[in-house]
Symmetry: C2
């Protein structure tokens, strides 16, 4: 369900296995539409569309949380295997239930209060500075606002959400865990997500993460607990904060293949996409180990550019020996839109950082004309 | 042109780049049909079908030599870029002109005579034992007969072909070379093709080939000369014999991506499929170097089985940590049909051989029921 870049890469991996593939998405020109056996135009948030599409299929997965989970629940009852389980999706897709899940299961996550609307925030001034997250529909950085003081409450969402205490972040990590129908799991090495603190954008991701063993163990134990308590097969990306006291908190969980695992295509024995097929096809879990360390740079639409996408600097980047380019085939670029990513392989962390910066500065998605 | 496994893997690689893809093939259920933007049903050997398909496209490539080269020639005249060039294809697709090309360019290749029909062979008894190769239409081991003595002439082809002197083979190699429009080339490491001499089938392929440096240099120099003299952009697989005196001979050349390069998907920075896209899209050539040594085992339809394909032993193979399975999605299996391949990664040659044998003995393609 969903025909974006995650579906696209999932379908690239599908062609290694004996499987017939179906995609549903509104836009027949979406990144994944031409890579499946059967494309169905439909609205993934609509009960009837999802139900009609899924009826009679053997297994279903999602590439975005907004898929209608009531339809998935009905399909599951009728014997369609769904990854993740609709109940895990329901827990995660609303930030209020996701945060409540962490609290109820004693999974460390920043302190929060539930807010029903913008005015509600005024009752929580002592809680500021905080992060306001919209309950439903947040995705890819949208639906999150930092509220530092009373004046900034005007920027909060006037819809149900959570107000989360700010953590003094030293480091952000992501850990991807795969779980199959038998409850067996495979954990990928933790990834460092390196942010530009000024612009608040992800600069690059590096695998494996570099952090003290004890902190890593804590992060792994927490990530494992999230997946165990969600009690669902599928792929889960657990994003974590490490604070200045080396405390580890769950930021959020995605119940699907995830941007922080794209390097696994080239750098790991079983990529996250390969792993999801193994789970859906009932094969043994793959090997999540790395063949080599790697970095990922996201290729975002340049500021001030909207329209037909043109890739500037691609030739120069393709001259670098250890980089792999993934362009998602989106016809239109918009500022900040994820248009592709680049993976860098090297055993030397300095080389990974050097090439990541080179790519960030030299590869641009602009609009034609 | 052509929708088999080579097209399939080429299209898996295409999804990394901004490119719109078209496939022509007679069978709409072929391995590549569902992985392109536009599928056209047509006969790749037919002038009109090829011409109509290619008209207006920017670039064309082939996955099989039988594509109508007169149509390609016309398309090239009209400005379509064709990989390989139609003239190189014409030289290679007929074994008579291919062998004449080697002789005319002083490229070492086993001695041969041209035969017009079966009866012709009787005039060359002194040439036996020899290998009779049909001029047109041989592919994947078909169109080749070993003629040891006068009695065996009955097995020869009653059609134009070449009779090649038998070489006392110590080793068979393959070298893949990429060439772009500017004449720049990139050479992949030589691969050892290991045959079962009793059954005359390829057991497995190992990269890099293990042979004395001077013999390797000779093989590389010969392979380079083949591509230089063909004077065409594209991907070329040069299959070579090394005889008992360490003389090196060209066996044959394929002007396209090739079975002996499938390990480059996982084991090399730029796979042969990635490399062909770089050539067709006018990007810099990729890096042909290996990330790690590798082996390939072909998955052939089992003897005595024809019909709907079932993969036996797949689960066991998928449990091995360093193997990658590629099933081509052919609905029907037949004895000896290429149904898939498995790539093994390891720094240890013994491990590569061990796993290759394990896979050969445990993975079978049989027919359902």
């Amino acid at each position: 369900m969903g025909g974006g870049q995650l579906g696209r890469m999932l379908l690239q991996a599908a062609a290694n296995y004996p499987v017939e593939t179906h995609v549903m998405e509104n836009d027949p020109g979406c990144p994944a539409a031409h890579l499946c056996h059967h494309f169905t135009r439909g609205d993934i948030t609509n009960y009837d569309d999802v139900y009609q599409f899924g009826k009679g299929l053997e297994a279903l997965t999602i590439e975005i949380e907004s898929v209608n989970e009531e339809a998935l629940l009905q399909l599951e009852k009728e014997g369609v295997r769904v990854y993740p389980s609709p109940s895990a999706l329901k827990t995660i897709k609303n930030k209020i239930s996701q945060k409540s899940f962490y609290r109820d299961h004693e999974i460390p996550s920043p302190e929060f209060v539930v807010t029903q609307n913008r005015a509600d925030l005024k009752a929580h001034l002592a809680f500021l500075p905080a992060v306001h997250k919209i309950g439903m529909g947040g995705y890819d950085g949208r639906g999150v606002e930092i509220i530092r003081n009373a004046e900034e409450i005007s920027r909060a969402f006037d819809a149900p959400g959570v107000l989360e205490k700010m953590v003094r972040i030293k480091k952000e990590l992501s850990i991807i865990i795969a779980a199959n129908d038998k409850g067996e799991t495979a954990m990928y090495p933790a990834v460092d997500m390196v942010f530009d603190n000024k612009l608040n954008v992800l600069e690059y991701q590096i695998s494996p993460a570099e952090l003290p063993e004890k902190v890593l163990w804590k992060a792994q134990a927490i990530a494992r607990k999230v997946v165990k308590d969600l009690d669902s097969p599928g792929i889960f990306a657990i994003e974590l904060f490490v604070d200045e006291n080396d405390q580890v908190f769950v930021n959020e969980t995605a119940p699907r293949v995830h941007n922080s695992g794209h390097h696994t295509i080239e750098a790991h024995f079983s990529s996250q996409f390969d792993m999801l097929w193994r789970i859906m096809l009932g094969y043994p879990l793959g090997n999540p180990a790395a063949i080599t360390p790697a970095a990922i740079v996201n290729l975002l639409g340049a500021e001030g550019h909207s329209g037909e996408a043109v890739y500037e600097g691609l030739e120069e980047i393709l001259r670098i020996e250890n980089v792999f380019v993934h362009i998602y085939g989106k016809k239109e670029t918009r500022p900040g839109r994820k248009m592709g990513h680049v993976t860098i392989l090297s055993k030397e962390k300095q080389e990974l950082i050097h090439q990541a910066n080179r790519i960030r500065h030299n590869l641009k998605v602009v609009s034609a004309g």
